[in-house]
Each structure stands twice: as structure tokens, then as C-alpha cells.
Amino acid sequence: MIAEPRTLFDKVWDAHVVAAREDGLDLIWIDRHFVHEGSFHAFDKLAARGAALARPDLTFGVEDHYVPTRTRALDRIDPAIRRMMEQLRANTQRHGVRLFDIDDPAQGIVHVVGPEQGLTLPGLSIVCGDSHTATHGAFGALAFGIGASDVAHVLETQTLWQKRPKRLRMTIDGALAPGVSAKDVALAVIAALGSDGAAGHAIEFAGSTVRALSMEGRLTLCNLAIEAGARCGMIAPDETTFAFLRGRPCAPRGADFDRACDDWRALAGDDGAVFDREARLDAAAIAPIVTWGVNPEDALPIDATTPDPDRVADPARAAHVRAALDYMGLTPGQRLQDIRIDRVFIGSCTNARIEDLRAAAAVLQGRRAVVPGLVSPGSGAVKRQAEAEGLDRVFRDAGLDWVGAGCSMCVGMNGDLLAPGERCASTTNRNFRGRQGPGSRTHLMSPAMAAAAAVTGRLTDLRALKRERG
């Protein structure tokens, strides 16, 4: 009997099925479980059941959501925020879980730390109580975010009951134009699919554009799969993946690594494997993109104008456009490049890796920012690398604040917030109302585009700025 050709997703999923129920639910084994300060609800549930943690050796704690970025001295921060960190420390210590706390040189955002440490590997199943866990799919892992009840279930059993999602292949072919990055590709994907377009699906990103992306770019792309509603995003592992992983602290070593690579090469989808849905994008047609509204799907090329709700046929969509423009303090038909900003933020699990900081610094080199801004590297390792390359000097000389690693102003839990009504050019993942603080207004874009906005004080076509420099 000839086996059915399988996709990458199918191969990874099938390797994790502990038990299959008649009603279609599979019991999935979990290889890595990341917990953070917000996981206290789940630890509380475990305690209420009087249960033990099933696999402390597969569970890793990371302080990221609430960590202060301007000081590492905990006695100087808001006690309520400090308590969030203390709870995580107590819970991980009680259960014998390795914690990357802020005094650990490897600390950073969980979705940056996992890959850096080689905890994220191809073919693994990875969960975390954070929707951007999709990021780790860049290595060909099955990685998805879960809520506190499921976190508690994984803590107690190292498994989860899951319904197999449908498979969507997003093929992107062609060369990206200068100034266009993985972030722009991701925003183009979300705009094409809609913010719930991939609900119930696992997206596999394929095509020559994806193959040509660095690991940093692939991580950005998979990170934003959730903003198209997908359960997870995945990219087949290849030599780029293996080169990134070789020598990472928790990855297999020596001959074991080479043997693992042989297994990982076989994870790529078989010829003729069938997807439930297919979608395509032409890379050459993607321009630098910014969001104008309150959802990542409210995205347009930088040379466009804001939409006019009176010209939107669907009444529900028209109502959304009207309310979004109102919240954002914008008018219909306004040129995006005329929108003035108050602040920039370069950071987050979407765009705080070394390549992102290099791209932003390349724009800021020899220039001044005309608005204040914050640059928060994704991890201690990224911070040290950036400082070794002198990028911190570029940011500081431009007038931006160079701070410590954490989720910072992407979600503002640590107090890095915008003031009400302030408008921010941000390399983050969500432009939701109030995401960066009550009344905050967020425009999502790539690191280079955020840097360009810092220089001019308005949303800016990076390509024009580049031409200006010659």
C-alpha cells in the first residue's frame, strides 16, 4: 500500500497523536510548554486540584509580559507588577521549572528566547498561553497559543485534546522590492485573507519568497499568522533553519544534530500532498504597508489614502471603517503619508530580532528622530549583539531610548504606555483600540518604516527617504 502524500503539518501532527477519539478529537503530546507571568491562573488551577506538574523538564518559564525595561531593580517598580513576577518565580520554583528571569542573560520575549536557546526545534509541538506562539512555526514546529484552562491541562498531563485544523497553503513567489520586508509580506497576507480568514486553519507558508527569508523574517511571518485568524503558521525546515539552530544551547549536539537534521528534512510536505485551501501572493506586488485602523486587516500600501465608509458597500464593514477612522482621529480619503505621529516603538515578538534592529538602524544612521521613541530588543542576547554592532549608538544618537528586553509597549503591561490620544508608529502586531494604553492609536509597520516615520514625524514611504539619501 502506498501511503497518502502528507503535508508538513500532517507529518508533525501525526507524530504527536497519543490517542484519537471517534468524535475527531486527538490527544496531542506537547514537547515544549512555555509559561510567563500571565500563567498564574493556570498554576492556581493546578494548585486547586492538588496536582503535580507532569513534566518540569519540558516546561520553561520566561519573564517578559510585565518586566520593566528601564530598570532591572524590582524594588523600584509598581508593586502590582512586581507581584506578577514574584508569582511566576514562586510557581516555577515550586515545580522545579527552569525560569529565564530578568537577571538571566538569556531573558527576553518568550518567542525570541525559545528559538535563540534551541528550545524551539523543527517537528516539535509547542504551546504557550500567548497567541503569538504561532511564531515558533517558522522552524516547522506545530506551535499555537492556548488559554489558561488549557495551560493547566498541559501542566498536569503534558497533553491537549485538539481538533485537527484544516490546512491552508499560502504560496508567495518572487523577489521582494527594495524596502519591503517580512512584515510587509505578513500584513499583505492578513489584508488578503482577512483577520478571521484563516480561522480553523493551519497555514503553511511556501514559495520562493518564503524560502529566501532569513529565520528572523520567517519568525515575523509566522508570528502574524494569528492575526489572519490562523491556529498556527508553519514553514518547512531547510538549511537556513539548520544553520540557525546548530550550536544553540538546548539543541542536539554533534552527530545527534546531524541525525536530527535528517529527520527534519523529511518533514517537508510530500509532492502531491493536498491542502484544504490554497492562496497565492505575488511578492513583487507588495509595497511597504501600514495599518490605518484598529485591526491588522485595516492595512494599505503607504502611498494609499484612508478608505471612505460612504463608498463601502457592506454596511457592517462601513460601520467598522467609520468607527475605526473616528477612533484613530483620521478622515476619509486622507493620504497615509500626511498622518503625523507622536512616538515610535521598535520592539515586540514580531520585530525585535537582530535583523529588525539592523534594518531600523540603517535608516536612522546619521539622522535624528523628530519624535520620542523606544527601542526594546527582543532578548538579552539580541541586546548584546546590537551593542557589539554599535546599533545602540545609532538609536541613542538619533534621540531614541535604548531599553531592556521585554514585551514592553506592544501591550503596555509593564507600564510602557502611550498617553491617551497619542499616535505611535509601531513594529508590533496589534493595532487594537487601547492596545498600547487607553486611547492609544497604533499604526503597524516594519522596523525600517517605523524608523523612517521617526525621522519625518509622519507615516513615510521608506523608499522616498532612501532616494533622498541617494
Binding site: 507524530a15 497519543v18 490517542a19 475527531g24 478529537l25 490527544l27 503530546w29 514537547d31 500571565g38 491562573h41 523538564d57 519540558l58 507588577i81 536557546q117 534551541g118 528550545l119 526545534l121 517537528g123 498561553g129 500567548d130 497567541s131 497559543g145 492556548i146 488559554g147 489558561a148 484552562s149 488549557d150 493547566a152 491541562h153 498536569e156 498531563t157 503534558q158 497533553t159 485534546w161 483577520s195 478571521d196 480561522a199 485568524g229 538546548c250 539543541a251 542536539p252 549536539r253 545527534d256 544534530f257 541525525r259 536530527a260 529527520d263 484598529v294 485591526n295 454596511p315 457592517a316 460601520a319 467598522h320 501591550v411 503596555g412 503591561m413 496589534r430 487594537f432 487601547g434 487607553p438
Partner: protein, 204 residues
């Protein structure tokens, strides 16, 4: 978990698209213990202004919606952050069912884990239900046995994954079910050790 079979109660229209979990509960409230109750934070920044005063006209605070336990809204409800606190805010407020054309996947899973019914209707039916509520209807009846929502003269079908439906109807908890599979889990782990030796993290 409290089973869900038939629920009848006050329904509230929320004629908004993409009410994300950051709206359902802003991040700054998530440091609190669940024991304090999250109901007061539900949709906080849409309901209240900077001074904490109710924003006039927000549907949830209209007198005829007092005690609302059914929300009817537009597509992509609960998108975004995986924060289960969004479900806690709804449940602690007294909401038992949200009716919408689509839901964020993680939100819907969290909802079912807490006995909250995410009932999927067509966009056209969502608009009809919202219109009827805006025209003055106040009560609705949600029947999970028949998968129908009745509201005034309307009686529309809703969809829900059959596995989720069974869980809600019975009030099943996952974890006890899983623990009964301990032998299968142990067998998987033993076989996996030789099948995927690289899956165990190295000690640095």
C-alpha cells in the same frame, strides 16, 4: 463545569465588528485575582470614559439590557490575545452565550472550557437579530439541543462544533478524561524516545 442545555435571558446587541479580547478586558486589569471577579472589567474602555463614567448609549448599560446573559454581535468576536480573562469577564458578568458570525479560535476554545457557548450564525442572521434587538426586543432563548436561537419573531439556526456541543451539554471537564488515558500516554512517551531522540531538550 455547569452544563448548558437551554438558556433564556436578556439579550444585548453589540453591533461591532472584531471585538477583540483587548476590548473584552484591557490588559491593565489582568493582574487581579480571579477571586475578585472580572465582571466589572468587561468591555471596560468601550463602556466607561477616562473618568470611569458610563459612556452614554453603550448598549450593555441600557436599562432594558440589565442582567444581559446573551450577546449578539458581528464577525470575529474574541480575536487576538489568548487571555482567558476575556472569557472570565463575560462569565463573571453573567453572559452565558455569545451569538456571532465568527469567533477567534482560541477565544472559542476558552469559552467552551468555561461553559460559555459561542454560537455561530450567518452574517445575515446576525444582522437580523441585531436589528430586532435594536428595534426593542429584549429576551432570547438559546437551545443547544436543537441549535437554535429564538428572539421575538425570529428563530434562527446556529452552528457549533459537535465535540464542543457535547462538552457543553454535559458539562464535561477535559482533564479527568485525559488522566484516564495515562497508560496510552506512557506508551507514547516510551515509543517516542526512540522515534524522536532529538525532541528532549539538552541541558546547556
Amino acid at each position: 463545569m455547569r452544563p448548558f442545555t437551554i438558556h433564556e435571558g436578556v439579550a444585548c446587541p453589540l453591533p461591532l465588528t472584531g471585538v477583540d479580547t483587548d476590548q473584552l478586558i484591557p490588559a491593565r486589569f489582568m493582574k487581579r485575582s480571579r477571586a475578585e471577579g472580572y465582571g466589572g472589567y468587561l468591555l471596560h474602555d468601550l463602556r466607561f470614559d477616562e473618568t470611569g463614567a458610563p459612556r452614554p448609549g453603550f448598549p450593555l448599560d441600557a436599562p432594558q439590557r440589565a442582567g444581559a446573559s446573551i450577546l449578539v454581535t458581528r464577525r470575529n468576536f474574541g480575536a487576538g490575545s489568548s487571555r482567558e480573562a476575556a472569557v472570565y469577564a463575560l462569565v463573571d458578568f453573567g453572559v452565558r452565550c455569545v451569538v456571532a458570525p465568527s469567533f477567534g479560535d482560541i477565544f472559542a476554545q476558552n469559552a467552551v472550557n468555561n461553559g460559555l457557548l459561542p454560537a455561530r450564525v450567518s452574517e445575515a442572521d446576525a444582522e437580523r437579530l441585531i436589528a430586532a434587538l435594536l428595534a426593542g426586543e429584549t429576551r432570547a432563548r438559546v437551545d443547544l439541543e436543537t441549535c437554535r436561537v429564538a428572539l421575538g419573531a425570529l428563530d434562527v439556526a446556529f452552528a457549533i462544533d459537535p465535540v464542543w456541543r457535547a462538552r457543553l451539554l454535559n458539562g464535561w471537564e477535559d482533564v479527568d478524561l485525559t488522566l484516564s488515558r495515562a497508560a496510552e500516554i506512557a506508551a507514547f512517551v516510551a515509543a517516542d524516545r526512540t522515534r524522536r531522540p532529538w525532541a528532549i531538550p539538552q541541558r546547556p
